[in-house]
């Protein structure tokens, strides 16, 4: 993990290459975190992967979270790893909810990290976040005709309603 000045240097260098890409940087639970503008997600990931001296070449995990009621509502997390220096860094693409039933959109990083293919499909499946340019943008775990995005915080949890037919019949 880069230390605090190291993280600020990374942020500065990305800012110089892609103005407006980094929204925030900091540490959360001993992990360096870069919060980025979703429009620049591929720029930042490519920069972190390819720039010599950084080379976070391994995408450990890609997952999403719904921060309802906070804004921006969604975030897609990229847990990047440099295996030589044993350093992890988290990139968080902050995605606002477009509203009116429209789905939030983000560039797919399958070209940079082929490992993201299944994981992006999983995020789409559960959060309804569309990855533009994904080679196979379908649901992966849920049935293909499923309606709704079950991992969103406003998706109801709960069982099926129980109808008390005996009580209704005999006791009204």
């Amino acid at each position: 993990m880069p230390d605090a000045p190291g993280l600020e240097l990374i942020r500065g260098e990305i800012e110089a290459a892609h103005p407006g890409a980094v929204i925030d940087s900091g540490f959360a639970q001993e992990r360096a975190v870069l919060s980025i503008d979703p429009a620049h997600v591929l720029d930042v990931l490519r920069w972190l992967r390819d720039t010599s001296g950084h080379e976070y070449g391994f995408l450990s995990s890609l997952h999403a979270a719904d921060y309802l009621p906070a804004q921006p509502r969604f975030a897609v997390h990229y847990e990047l790893l440099n295996r030589d220096r044993v350093e992890r860094i988290r990139v968080k693409a902050l995605l606002p909810d477009p509203g009116d039933g429209a789905l939030p959109e983000l560039d797919s990083c399958v070209e940079l990290f082929p490992t993201a293919e299944f994981q992006e499909r999983e995020v789409f499946d559960f959060f309804g976040i569309v990855f533009k340019g994904h080679p196979d943008p379908r649901r992966i775990l849920l049935p293909e005709d499923y309606v709704g995005w079950p991992q969103r915080r406003d998706f109801p949890v709960g069982g099926e309603p129980v109808t008390f037919t005996y009580n209704e019949r005999n006791y009204g």
């Binding site: 995990s61 992890r88 991992q151």
Partner: protein, 395 residues
Amino acid sequence: MAELAERTSEVMTVNIGPHHPATHGVLRLVVDLEGEVVREVRPIIGYVHTGIEKSCEDKSYWKVIPFVERMDYVSYFFQMEAFCGAVERLVELEIPERAKYLRVIFLELNRIHSHLVWLGTTALDLGAISMLWYCFRERDRILDLFEMATGQRMHTRYFQVGGVIEDIPLGFEAKLREFIREMPGRVEQYQALLDRNEVFLSRTKGTGVVSRERLLELGVTGPLLRAAGEPWDLRKAFDYLVYPRLDFKVPVGTVGDNYDRYRVRVAEMVESVRIVEQALDGLPEGPHIADDRKYVLPPRSELSTSMEALIHHFKLVTEGYRVGPGEIYYAIESPRGELGCFVVADGSAKPARVHFRDPSFVNLQAFRDMSVDGYIADMIASLGMLDPILGGVDR
């Protein structure tokens, strides 16, 4: 291969599964065959998706533990460690030394157990039927040890946030030492049965080869990656529990074929036995769970004498403890690779998001590279050597 392509040109699509003994779970494979050569394979998953991650959002933290155990149902201790470790890091709770050692002992026993299940079922797929009985004999001894210490053979709910729920019972150490003494000899027996088995060798050597670089691109971790010659093991790379204090080797392969995958996992079993022995030798005296009443249940004996202990017990059982806002990704080395647990806490007594980066799910992406342009029989061998646990894939 070129010669084969000339002789047969008709492509036939065959469906394998979802219920098939060779798919190691509820996995469906749609395979395009040209003669006996696989031209394309599409794994179709989701048949045992149970929405565990969503269910966890509706449970207080301590009730999540038995849920997550049921994802990858062969390596349940690892799921517990990933989740408990993540929550402990969120609330900054240090666990006692004895708990760390006990966790290592059970994690490594679980690793041996998981590899035994893999070896038995995979050898069965390749025609070595007797391997299953030999492997399950030793597996049963490990389950007996689990039962002795935790009361359950599978899904033990033994790890708690703060440590482990109970200390090991009297007589456990003697039984474990007996197992440690016998297990390396048993592994030699397995090798004697397979290493000179002509059928096993010809079906595993040179099949399912994927290069180290391609595996890294696909995010593959664990024995599959190590079999291709990359010595990457989170137990060595990151500092968690007491692994830095233990002396063990990371077995690696050379070419990354199915035979290397077999060799790496078998060698890992021997290393795990060594780890268990060292952890048992180094097991310090002391408490087995942290003494923080805000997160850990007070000892049972105090409940009848201390009002305060009773209040803490009541609060912990009814509401659970609250975890301040934060998010964490905590990864450990499971028998199948990097098992990561991502937890988002929003300040309430229930997690806002629990996600598992399951190694089986990610590793399954390499299956296409392993099988395309090989024989369908080699595809079955590759699937066994990939060792996916569909409970972990589908969650």
